[in-house]
């Protein structure tokens, strides 16, 4: 009973906040609704017994991805009138995408009703008494190790690409060299002299 209530609560909030992402006028509000949607999706994952995925969803999407979204959206100076002006022009394209998505949904549900692919039996780990993390780990590091490593390499390449694209060498910048500063001793910079009276000092 309580699972049912929780499921409908989470699901309703996910759908409602996903709708609000589109309908909110202020982009910052949109991102906030998106975060709410992520959060409740994590709740749905918890109900499905996938606590590891739920926590990852919060850590990665809410804690990192959405923060970057928020950063970008806050920094942008967005003209709302201009945003709205393209509405009619892009309406046919948007409608087309929506129709394709709707058709795919109907198709998928139909296929599922017709028996579906028996994916669940193929990939499901056997034991249910071990925790989620162990099951995922055992699959990820044995059966799917090459896919896992390939994903890692793709991410590495993407990261290096982003750095290469945005990195630029600026001239005339004085960068603090901390190890050089730490290596510096008083003897390198100061000198004790004992000049006689009236002799002055050579600098």
């Amino acid at each position: 009973m309580i699972q049912l209530i929780a499921f409908y609560l989470f699901a309703t909030i996910v759908i409602a906040s996903a709708a609000m992402v589109i309908f909110a006028r202020n982009p910052v509000h949109s991102v906030m609704w998106l975060i709410l949607a992520f959060f409740n999706a994590a709740g749905l994952m918890l109900l499905a017994g996938a606590e590891f995925i739920a926590m990852l969803l919060v850590i990665v999407y809410v804690g990192a991805v959405a923060v970057l979204f928020l950063f970008v959206v806050m920094m942008l100076d967005i003209d709302f009138a201009e945003l709205r002006s393209g509405f009619v022009r892009y309406l046919p394209l948007g409608a087309l995408v929506a129709i394709v998505l709707a058709a795919e949904l109907v198709f998928a549900v139909g296929a599922w009703q017709a028996g579906g692919v028996d994916l669940a039996a193929r990939a499901a780990p056997a034991a249910t008494d071990t925790s989620n993390i162990q099951q995922i780990g055992e699959l990820l590091y044995t059966r799917y190790i090459f896919l896992f490593e390939a994903a890692g390499i793709v991410l590495l390449v993407a990261m290096i690409g982003a750095i290469v694209l945005t990195h630029r060498q600026r001239g005339g910048v004085r960068i603090q060299n901390i190890s050089a500063q730490n290596r510096r001793r008083p003897e390198d910079a100061t000198r004790l002299v004992d000049p006689g009276v009236g002799q002055g000092m050579e600098l």
Partner: protein, 347 residues
Amino acid sequence: MTEYFQSLGMSYEWAWGVATIVGILLIALPLMLAVAMIIYADRKIWAAIALRRGPNVVGPFGLLQSFADGLKVFLQETIIPSSANRGLFLIAPIITFTVALMAWAVIPFNSGAILADINVGLLYILAISSLGVYGVILSGWSSNSKYPFFSAMRASAQMISYEVSIGFILIGVVLFADSFNMNDIVKAQQGHGLGFVNAFGFNLLLFPLAVMFLISALAETARAPFDLTEAESELVAGYQTEYSSMSFALFWLGEYANVLLMCALNAILFWGGWLPPVDWAPLYAVPGIIWLFAKILFFFFVFSWVKATVPRYRYDQLMRLGWKIFLPISLFWVFLISGYLMLTRYS
């Protein structure tokens, strides 16, 4: 506790619900009291190091100073700037405060005394602490004011940067404890050091992580020397500049609840949590909660001590420490620890 309420004749669902609510109150109310006293302690320690007296007027030794401050703040007028984004402006302190309380759900106070004994306790803490950014970033943006916005940008960049290395440090602990469950992590530390010291910190492989975690905890809670978010010489008062009355008090409470949480995490992850420091039978006669509180208070003293003695970092130095020193070292340490464990435990 659920069994107790069941024995009073409730059905399982009701007993569970009542037990959970009682558990939440048993954690949240003492926590609020602890925050009030810890603010007093912070000021006293700070004053003592600066050879001042600190708060000494309200109550004996000034013990009631925090309550007087709280009452004063409570009676003030709530001012909402006219150009602020009203909804988000009011939600931001609530987020900060709630998130600071939420993480305490998985803190084990004794072998059975934990509100939510979940498999993924440590991940839950990471997830919740990553939510803390939103309170800061939203308050800065919705104030519609220059300095709070700067501060929010700094704070969120700082928190995200240090969360990365905290994540890797936690992986080192998890590898040694072989579990994400907070209670199991504490239990794994029994007799870990030389067979009789109940702490991961005495392990030579984990001690550097303990030090890095302490420093990252300072940065994560934006305490001195990493308090660039409220650098008063540059940013007035940081992201909470425009806040007054209770909305300001919520930031204040949330901040100190977070500091206590980080002290508790230090104690639990590296220094044995509710276990006594040494694995010696008579010490187990003392309730675990007292050992945990002693450790938390010790780390809080370290936090205040640092605050009183260390000058503030510059922003580029802060980023350098996080990304160029802590991140590579902690990443390498994950590799080192897993290699060591493969050689010794799993071969």
